[in-house]
């Protein structure tokens, strides 16, 4: 690091404007250049694939179940996608960190100096992180389904894409995880603090249902199906369930939570000092 030369200002650079497309490129560079992002994404894929082998393996070993209810409710698709519930942790945390990591390190100031029209950064982050997550989790979910079903075949309890709702449930698993990530990103942008962002995301996803279950069931049942996790997971159900929203309505409700959080984050981002 011995620099005595001050050879700066060479030929004038052509002045180029900030555009949404360029900010998206920049966010892609940011995402791929952090080791923690790459590890979290890989972890999510490993969870999805790992449990797709583990859970069906256990089921096959203990087949048939003693409890007739278990037999009646057996869902071979769900069994192969159990890893999604673990993967949402990795993706949710990563979504929060995509924004709060910049606040924690001070990077956000460099970012907002480069892009003073701040909303472009938020949209770029959502687009890049959402796309990357979807592109990874769709093949992961498909592979998990294939692995799981190949194991279930040993007891001839497998299902296939030709069965009703199966394709929607498998793709839906990837969509659900992706929206969890986007919701985390929005909460991170709103709260600007890693611990707070993660706590609020998982509070909303996991704690809210527990709290609602303490209510009398005449209250709990109608409220529960509109909670983010129940609404979002409706998309992963193969058998129609009268206690939850229909798959696409549920998923739309889940997306609306994410959109609401994003709108709140956008308003806050414009108004607050960096």
């Amino acid at each position: 690091m011995t620099a005595t030369a001050i050879s700066v200002s060479p030929p004038q650079l052509p002045e180029q404007r900030v555009t949404q497309a360029r900010v998206i490129r920049s966010e892609w560079t940011k995402l791929r250049s952090l080791r923690s992002t790459v590890i979290s994404l890989l972890l999510a894929v490993v969870f999805i694939l790992g449990l797709s082998a583990l859970v069906p393996e256990v089921v096959v070993h203990h087949w048939p179940p003693h409890d007739p209810n278990d037999l009646a409710n057996f869902d071979p698709t769900g069994v192969s996608l159990a890893g999604v519930f673990l993967a949402q942790l990795a993706i949710g945390v990563l979504g929060v960190l995509v924004v709060t990591g910049e606040y924690a390190t001070g990077m956000i100031r460099a970012t907002m100096c480069a892009v003073p029209r701040r909303l472009a950064v938020l949209w770029a982050k959502v687009l890049v992180f959402g796309s990357v997550t979807l592109v990874l989790t769709i093949p992961a979910a498909l592979a998990a389904f294939a692995i799981g079903q190949s194991i279930l075949t040993r007891q001839h309890i497998q299902t296939s894409f030709s069965q009703p709702n199966v394709t929607r449930a498998v793709i839906g698993a990837a969509l659900y995880v992706t929206v969890v990530g986007v919701l985390g990103l929005a909460l991170g942008a709103l709260i600007r603090n890693t611990a707070g962002g993660i706590a609020s995301l998982f509070g909303l996803l996991f704690v809210a249902p527990v709290v609602v279950h303490f209510l009398p069931s005449s209250w709990a049942d109608p409220i529960d199906k509109y909670l983010p996790s129940s609404a979002g997971q409706a998309l992963m159900q193969v058998r129609p369930d009268s206690s939850s929203l229909s798959p696409w309505v549920g998923f739309t409700v889940f997306c609306l939570y994410a959109v609401a959080a994003l709108i709140a984050a956008a308003v806050a981002l414009r108004r607050r000092d960096v």
Binding site: L13, T29, M112, V274
Partner: protein, 309 residues
Amino acid sequence: MIQAEGLTKRYGDKLAVDDLSFTVEPGVVTGFLGPNGAGKSTTMRMILGLDAPTRGRVTVNGKLYRDHPAPLHEVGALLEARAVHTGRTAYNHLLAIAQTCGIPRSRVDEVVEAVGLAEVARKRVGGFSLGMGQRLGIATALLGDPQTYVLDEPVNGLDPEGIRWIRQLLQRLAADGCTVFVSSHLMSEMALTAQHLIVVGRGRLIADTSVEEFVAGASRNLVRVRTTDPEAMRALLSGPDVTINEADGGLVVAGLTSDQIGVMAARAGLTLLELAPQQASLEEAFMDVTADTVEFHASPTTGSTGGAR
């Protein structure tokens, strides 16, 4: 050119910047001087659109920062605390910033080379020393080859070689016609680097002047006098606005110029052994001017008035 008009920033009930108006002209290095907590960083954040002023406005080349379509080509910024994700390499940090306005990779390589980080550019910033971090900040500022620079404490944490490098860089940028606005609480550094000074204390403008005038205008311009007969000299020079202290076997006189003293001594027939005007250093001038406005007094020793040097 940077123009602030009635710039005011209030955090809760604390007025961080209070009705600040100034102009930073191109072609010279303008120092932005003030004690810690004087509002320098807040002012710089407002210039860069990171903080919104409570009142007033600040423009860069006639526009609000956020209204510039290509901000990196307009203003190069170095922010006080590190503004870098520690998990990313220096190269990727610069690349991500550059890509927001289509600056090519070749320019990233160029600035990495220019600031002397070529060897460590592929290492993660978390392991960087303060000095390397500052160099990375400078590299970020240079990316868009802008005509205006806003640098918050650029010499902070640099070794002597790095400080000299920054000094030369700033002077060269100014000589090229750039607007260079540099904050510092180090008066000695500004004396060597800046030609113009904007001095603030407690968020208020204290002085907006050239470095020379600032020093000349300081109250403590002293004259050292050595004579064969100090008692007679003391009696001769005494007057209502004159203070005389003894130091190092001579007298230190405030309130008279060396010309006046020389003439008075000749008329009185006193022998002068030494007659030396002692210009206040920028440091002393600064202490004089900001003595009342220091936010956090360290100890009673602040503002001690040793007459001798």
